[in-house]
Amino acid sequence: MRSALALVLVVVLAALMMAGVSQLPPPGEADQAVHRHVAANYLADGVEEGGTGNRVTAVLLDYRALDTYGEVVVIFAALIAVLLVRSAGGPRTQPPPRRVPVSPVVDQVIRLMTPFIALFALFMIIEGHVLPGGGFQGGVVLGALMILLSLALGPDRLRGALHTGALFWLRAVAPLAFTVSALAGLGLVGWWFALPEPGWMREFALVLLELAIGFGGAAALTGFFLSLEEDIHR
């Protein structure tokens, strides 16, 4: 009975939503408002005003830097939330179980690929302001690499690699870099979150922000994974 009611409700809601969405302009038509208003301005002037070859980066780190700041704060808060929930159980009570070693093939492949993956991640982060990609994408690749490594080498090797204090700083690096850049904009250009002038400084700020987003994101992903891993073995 309850599931029948739920089904009716879902069907009705879906019909309402489809009715609404069906009125939207068809995608890809150049004369629609969505292509002609704000976006057209970004396309026309984004390279010159935003000071980067990549218009997506211009939107993310220049025109709408405040939103990106909010997003890295959300990622940070989510990581703190996970840490908070996990530490509810207190420290690990039993010794970690003996790890089943991964197959030597997997182990060797991960070790072999590590430098290449790391290089690719770094390339995406550093070149993010001129090419597609950037801190978020590169950070995810870097985080995935950390997770792979913790599978191959064991999570405790990874945990021991960084001092707890340093780890907290690394997790906070993206929001902090935005604060520094926002203040630099205020001091040098006169507006919060403006990218500093002249050009070389702007380039420097962009690379700094991409690096911070990348490393902060990787630290957050690794933190999520290690927390879950610890929980399973509690």
Partner: protein, 498 residues
């Protein structure tokens, strides 16, 4: 443009940066963290108050972030909602942080102190950003900032109820956020803009009333969940009652009000777009408000746990605010806005003083707390003052909003709603008197009551201050109503200006 406008982004960046730094700086020195957070909150409050005086002198404070003019960049606007709720958020977060020293030491392990303080500061920055947002996506981002920190803060409490309540809050909150995001996508696809007044100007030209209506529906449902307006309040009682008391105060006092702020922004956007009449939305708010007032008060009355009663009372009071907005007359909207600010004060005082009683005795049921006023006179007195205010007796702070909403019902030609306003107040008074009676006039039933110690000064001072302000706040009602008059005028006149 004076230099003071640069304080608007500071009111967001300052608390967030201090919150982000807290775990890194204080993961070993747990006690210093509290002072760090209190200092940051005090500086944020000073920033907000400077903005308030700027806004009261010269109208809206506008700030194009990064120097980019709207709609190409993000514009922050400090308006009446900022004056009202921004100053409330700064002041109440500061008091909550002062009081939480004692709570956190008992309720959380030392490793979690810095995480708690960091999240409270991030929550404050998120609320300040949300209040100042004039860009729809920016609004969404800051909604996520204060929501995610709020989910985590509920999970800070010990015990399985809190963990489950936090999970429920997280799932319901995430669904409501998705609805808001969907609505933003729908509006952007039709107008190509994210700035709220720009969308309002351009929405009619899109000629897609069904899509616009769907966006309106998603925004309204999403924000009604955040505001815990009946019947979307079901996540609130568990989350607000099982959280640590300072967190309950923060959530019930401030965070639910942000849902109403979102609702007001939505209404202004669609009034400006002027594609369809908003009478149905107003009618919906009136009826949901009526239901929330009565049902919340009845449910509060049958609870046995002190904090659950207070949580259900939030459902009642969100109902009053929804009713006032839905009536859409100058007096009623002014009353709803005043009640938003005053209820924030009252509910913070209620949860902190109730928390003090629960903290000292370890007991949470009303019947177990009998006779506690002898051992804890200050905390009981503060709770009593706040209880009288939440019932809305004149001249308490709770009276102003209810009176104005009742006047608004007359203005709107619906005098029967006065009976609803009155019955909510009477039902609230009934359970408030039950608590007061238990504390003062019944003999103790439990041993813990006989040995309980009065709360430390760090709790007594804030709760006594909140209790007194709640008790006599109604005397400042005329001044507050005058401050927010331009805002209620703007809410009602949106769309009629052009």
């Amino acid at each position: 443009m004076s230099a003071a406008v640069h304080l608007l982004p500071l009111s967001v960046v300052l608390p967030i940066t201090a919150g982000v730094l807290a775990p890194a700086l204080f993961h070993r020195r747990h006690n210093a963290c509290s002072w760090w957070a209190i200092t940051a909150a005090a500086l944020t409050l000073a920033t907000t108050l400077t903005l308030v005086s700027e806004a009261l002198d010269g109208g809206l404070v506008r700030y194009p972030v990064g120097g980019w003019p709207a709609p190409y960049g993000i514009e922050l606007v400090f308006d009446g909602l900022g004056i009202l709720m921004g100053s409330a958020a700064g002041l109440l977060t500061l008091l909550i942080l002062i009081a939480s020293r004692a709570f956190v030491q008992t309720e959380a392990t030392p490793q979690r102190h810095s995480l708690f303080h960091g999240l409270v500061l991030i929550n404050l920055g998120g609320m300040n950003g949300f209040l100042a947002a004039s860009d729809l996506f920016n609004l969404f981002v800051f909604m996520e900032v204060f929501s995610i920190s709020a989910y985590a803060l509920v999970a800070l409490a010990r015990g399985p109820v809190a963990a489950l309540a936090a999970l429920k809050y997280l799932i319901v909150g995430a669904v409501s956020s998705m609805l808001v995001l969907l609505a933003i996508a729908l509006l952007h696809a039709q107008t190509g803009s994210l700035n709220m007044s720009d969308i309002g100007d351009r929405l009619a030209a899109a000629q897609a009333p069904a899509a616009a209506g769907l966006a309106l529906g998603c925004l309204v449902v999403g924000f009604l969940v955040k505001a815990a307006v009946f019947p979307l309040h079901f996540w609130l009682p568990d989350a607000h009652a099982s959280a640590p008391s300072p967190v309950s105060a923060l959530l019930s006092g401030l965070v639910v009000k942000m849902g109403i702020v979102g609702l007001i922004r939505t209404r202004m956007l669609f009034a400006e777009a002027d594609i369809f009449s908003l009478v149905a939305l107003d009618l919906l708010l009136v009826w949901l408000g009526v239901a929330a007032i009565v049902i919340g008060a009845v449910l509060a009355m049958i609870q046995r746990e002190l904090k659950l009663m207070l949580a259900y009372s939030t459902v009642t009071n969100m109902g009053y605010i929804a009713l006032g907005l839905g009536l859409a007359t100058p007096a009623a909207v002014g009353g709803a806005l005043a009640h938003m600010g005053f209820h924030a004060l009252i509910k913070t005082g209620l949860f902190l003083s109730a928390g003090a009683l629960v903290l000292s005795t370890g007991l949470s049921r009303i019947d177990d707390l009998r006779g506690l006023a002898q051992r804890m006179p200050v905390s009981s007195a503060a709770l009593t003052l706040a209880l009288l205010a939440v019932a809305g007796l004149p001249p308490t702070a709770g009276f102003v909003g209810k009176w104005q909403i009742a006047l608004g019902a007359l203005e709107a030609g619906q005098p029967w709603l006065i009976a609803v306003v009155m019955s909510g107040a009477l039902l609230t008074l009934a359970w408030a008197i039950r608590i007061i009676n238990s504390l003062y006039f019944l003999p103790p039933a439990r041993g813990q009551v006989l040995t309980a110690d009065e709360a430390p000064l760090s709790i007594r001072a804030p709760i006594l201050m909140l209790g007194l302000v709640a008790m006599v706040g109604g005397l400042a009602g005329a001044m507050v109503l005058e401050w927010i008059e331009p805002l209620s005028f703007r809410i009602l006149e949106a769309g009629h200006g052009h």
